[in-house]
Amino acid sequence: MALRDERVTLAHGGGGKAMRDLIEEVFTAVFQPPGMEDQARLTEAALAEPGARLAFTTDSYVVTPIEFPGGDIGKIAVCGTVNDLAVGGARPLWLSAAFIIEEGTEIALLRRIVATMAREAEAAGVRIVTGDTKVVGRGACDGVFVTTAGVGVIPPGREMAAGLVQPGDVAIVNGVLGDHGATILATRGDLALSSDIESDCAALGHLMAGVMAAAPGIRAARDLTRGGLASALNEIAQAAGCGIVIDETALPLRAEVVGLCEILGLDPLYLANEGRLVTFVPEAEAAAALAAMRARPEGAGACVIGRAVADHAGQVRMRTAFGGARIVDMLVGEQLPRIC
């Protein structure tokens, strides 16, 4: 059986045969969720372990353009939710996936997105076990919106939270910053760039598993998404009630990203990422954590960027290349110019 239509119509959301064809052919044939009913029924031995806790998260994904160098909305939807679970110390297990589709969307595009999701889920070791589709009229959404929810398991005894970060802890990131944000900006603006920057989008479950094994005293991790490194560090500093100092010269930045940011007048510290995290570990475990990250491709560019300090509680500062110290704030709304 093959869908005759090339584009999604409102009939695909009407509840009839067209809708069933779409779901069966485009989604369930690929995801192969357990059972054919609307809900997943799951058993998992890990949950039975005394002290184990269930981790449960959800996120909606909206990105323009839907496909971009290095990924598409489906990849972000899987990786983003997997990463949400992973940085909380959980082993990601199951995802749900819900789609809001604008009338007129190419079926071929949907197929590509679904294929990406299936591939990424398999690589990340999670299963997409349930889902939903809705079709809305033109203009009611922008192409495709995806919502994923994720369930994972936190093993007994693991405690990770931003509030546990202490002065002296070392801050490590798993690779160059801002590639995703720069890619999206360049693609969205159709900016004539001669660069080969790609989105950094990646699932970090395996990487986190390696780090947690190598550095059992790990305090906290945060995936860097909207607002970039700067926002993640500010959240941690505020939750932990300590200061954070990062070193400008230690920040992993690609020359192309720095160059693009200079032209656009943006700060790479605030650019979005989809495959980067920052983790705080006790100093004694920093080397092991770093080695564990570097052992995986998505952590090949890992490096130490700074540490937590007792001074300036709640505030993030960057030691500049010239030896000065600049305050790095949380991003508040759009950045309006300030230089009078």
Binding site: G189, I263, L264, F322, A325, L336, P337, R338, I339, C340
Partner: protein, 739 residues
């Protein structure tokens, strides 16, 4: 017994006012007492007053500022036999501290003379010396200053206790036996021998020295030695920003042309850096591309001794890391300045408070940076604000300075710098606490800029919430206007004015970025009458750094894209144009500052990058030469279109003429509109404010265009954001009282 009570208000504490009264009264045979209290100085006397009250004002000590002398007939009992200085009365008395003051002639003669303070670098008296820079907490007395560790010797103690001595109650009194010690340090080791002589020798040999001054460390070197000046620029990574100079009076005329007004400003106890026309005898690299030099006189005994021994003119630039505030601690200096300085001339009197050198210009008079010597002086508020609520205003982001108002007075704080710099931010918080203590201030309202992302604005929002008082966000250029009104004592009900505010930028209530405005209004409100036609700020704040960005959008708007392509072959023009077209980080702005940058870039003045704020505009001003009126700028529905200025470029006019035309055309376009507001009776006076009016040429031309009108300008507070907080406070107070 029938007598007189005389209340003296103003800056009358900590300046030798009581001993002055004591001497005056004794000389006239008056009986009575003098004391400090919370309101100033109080004198109670019996006897024939004669011109005693007038003398209190006319013969006041050099650092005193007498705002009022109020005489009342009273019945007095319990007066002493003669005339005495008695203990302060009441709570809150003697909390005043005056600004730091340059070495007075008597002290200078003393260190050059044969007495016990010959050659002593820390001499001072009631009429001069450190004040605010050594204050740790209130009230101001020696135990709460960084002089506390130095125990007075008997000789100093005797001087301190004698009302007839010019050191009576001089808190930082010191001598070689009991006071701070000076030394020269190189490679972490103290150099043996006379520190001043050794320092002077090194300077002559072309070395760069870190010199600990009043409000921070300077980096000093021989201004006549081009090689050393270049070396200092290389080490400081400061390619072009002018260096300040320090010269003895006798050396001034050789390097700059000194007007009588400039000389008076130089000799003021505040001892600011004064901008004066260069004679071109010093190496060009001292102040590349600008026609003025900033020079100050030696203002501490240490400086006098050093310059006497050195015998020439010194570069005296602030000792700091690029972009960071001036270093004040000895260890901090060793840590941060070792890469710049070959040796350290330092001492063991701590600096409690970082204060940069103040910067002024005299022709026309203006304060460019308000700091050492000018704070913590108070300013009177205009009529109508006598009973205004106590307001604290937090100013802007880039030249942060805060302001408190209370009891008809304003306390405008010192220049702090850019608030994202961590040390500057700490200084801002210290200043907030300090000035509140100094002024015994209990805010009933908080005023901030409309821009929510100024660090000062966020701080103000938090403070207002913590205090449970109203917060008033004031539009940036309305605050500039109000600051100018306040400085000129424009009454609260004085009617509306036409305010030409030419500035970098500030957030407008419409969400766009303003900066070249004609506002009609008063303290409580305004309407926008005219403005520069907006252009995109490509890359937001990046447009400030790179003048070509502003040139590109203005040239494109004037239909001169080809010219832009020819002028900026190296720039990423395609990308920039796409950003402007698609609105990617390219907000529209009517900034006048960026228009100056645009024209400068077109004339080849740092087109790709400015190395310091205002570089392009300053060089453009220096380039401009008097050549006629400049083209008319069309005005459509309030929008002043600068396109004709760019047409001059296409017509290949000489650069000096184009530079001048910008000043003249802008002045005329705004002045014409302002004059119309006056002629139609809608405005009572014209206000000139905003950072662009630090440009002497623009200020002078605009005033000329408005000849015959009532013009209010800035003289003693900065036209730039350093004066912003005063305007914010006044607007907030007026709005609160209006409710």
């Amino acid at each position: 017994m029938q007598g007189w009570q005389i209340r003296v208000r103003g800056q009358v504490q900590g300046v030798g006012f009581r001993p002055f009264v004591w001497q005056l009264a004794r000389a006239r045979g008056l009986r009575g007492v003098v004391l400090n209290d919370a309101e100033g100085v109080l004198v109670r006397v019996v006897g024939a007053l004669g011109d005693f009250a007038e003398a209190l004002r006319d013969q006041a000590p050099p650092l005193a500022r007498v705002d009022a002398v109020e005489v009342a007939a009273v019945v007095l009992d319990d007066l002493p036999e003669g005339f005495e200085i008695v203990a302060s009365g009441g709570a809150g008395a003697e909390t005043r501290v005056t600004p730091d003051a340059a070495t007075c002639p008597a002290c200078l003669a003393e260190i050059r003379g044969e007495g016990r303070r010959r050659g002593y670098a820390f001499s001072n008296c009631t009429h001069c010396g450190p004040r605010f820079t050594i204050l740790q907490s209130l009230p101001y007395d020696r135990a709460r200053t960084t002089m506390a560790p130095f125990v007075m010797c008997p000789a100093c103690r005797a001087e301190y206790g004698d009302p007839a001595d010019r050191r009576f109650h001089a808190q930082p009194i010191a001598c070689p036996d009991c006071g701070p010690r000076l030394w020269l340090e190189a490679g972490g080791v103290e150099v043996a021998g006379d520190a001043i002589a050794a320092a002077a020798k090194r300077l002559k040999a072309g070395e760069i020295l870190a010199v600990k001054g009043l409000g921070g460390f300077h980096l000093a070197c021989d201004a006549a030695n081009a090689g050393t000046v270049d070396l200092l620029r290389a080490r400081k990574r400061r390619p072009a920003k002018p260096f300040a100079l320090m010269a003895r009076e006798g050396d001034l005329e050789r390097i700059v042309s000194v007007s009588p007004g400039a000389l008076a400003a130089l000799r003021d106890p505040a001892a600011p850096i004064v901008l004066m026309p260069s004679r071109g005898v010093l190496p060009e690299t001292v102040a590349p591309g600008v026609a003025e030099l900033g020079v100050m006189l030696p203002y501490t005994p240490l400086h006098h001794l050093l310059l006497d021994a050195f015998g020439g003119v010194l570069v005296m630039t602030s000792g700091n890391l690029s972009g960071a505030p001036q270093v004040i601690g000895n260890d901090e200096a060793r840590d941060k300045l070792s890469a710049f300085a070959d040796a350290f001339l330092m001492h063991d009197r701590e600096i409690a408070r970082r204060l940069d050198d103040s910067v002024v210009r005299v022709d026309p008079p203006m304060v460019l940076r308000r700091a050492r010597g000018q704070v913590p002086g108070t300013l009177p508020l205009p009529p109508g604000f006598e009973t205004a609520p106590q307001v604290v205003a937090y100013g802007g982001q880039m030249k942060a300075a805060l302001c408190l108002i209370k009891n008809g007075q304003a306390l405008l704080g010192h220049h702090l710098g850019e608030l994202d710099e961590a040390l500057t931010w700490e200084a801002f918080q210290q200043a907030d606490a300090d000035y509140a203590g100094l002024f015994d201030h209990h805010p009933q309202a908080v005023a901030i800029d409309l821009h929510p992302d100024f660090r000062a604005s966020r701080h103000g929002a938090k403070r207002a919430e913590a205090l449970g008082v109203p917060m008033i966000a004031v539009q940036h250029h309305h605050a500039h206007m109000a600051a100018c009104l306040g400085e000129n004592l424009w009454p609260k009900d004085g009617g509306k004015v036409a305010a030409i505010v030419l500035d970098g930028l500030g957030l407008g209530p419409d969400g766009t970025v303003w900066g070249g405005e004609l506002l009609l209004g008063d303290y409580t409100g305004f309407e926008r009458i005219a403005w520069l036609k907006p252009a995109a700020l490509i890359g937001g704040d990046r447009a400030q750094l790179e003048p070509w960005r502003n040139a590109l959008v203005r040239l494109d708007a004037a239909g001169l894209s080809d010219l832009a392509d020819r002028l900026f072959p190296e720039a990423p023009r395609d990308l920039a144009r796409q950003m402007a077209m698609k609105g990617i980080n390219a907000p529209l702005s009517s900034s006048a500052g960026r228009l100056f940058d645009a024209i400068a870039a077109c004339l080849g003045i740092c087109p790709m990058r400015q190395s310091y704020e205002g570089e392009a505009a300053m060089r453009l001003e220096s380039l401009a030469s008097e050549t006629g009126p400049g083209p008319d700028l069309p005005v459509v529905a309030g929008e002043i279109d600068p396109a004709p200025l760019f047409q001059l470029l296409a017509a290949n006019e000489p650069p000096a003429r184009i530079a001048h035309a910008l000043h003249a055309s802008l002045a005329r376009a705004f002045a014409t509109q302002a004059a119309q507001l006056i002629e139609s009776g809608r405005a009572q006076a014209v206000v000139l404010s905003g950072g662009c009016f630090q440009n002497a040429k623009l200020a002078t031309l605009t005033r000329k265009m408005l000849a015959g009108q009532r013009i209010l300008t800035h003289r003693s507070i900065p036209a730039n954001d350093g004066g912003l907080a005063l305007g914010q406070a006044l607007v907030a107070a007026a709005k609160l009282e209006g409710n």
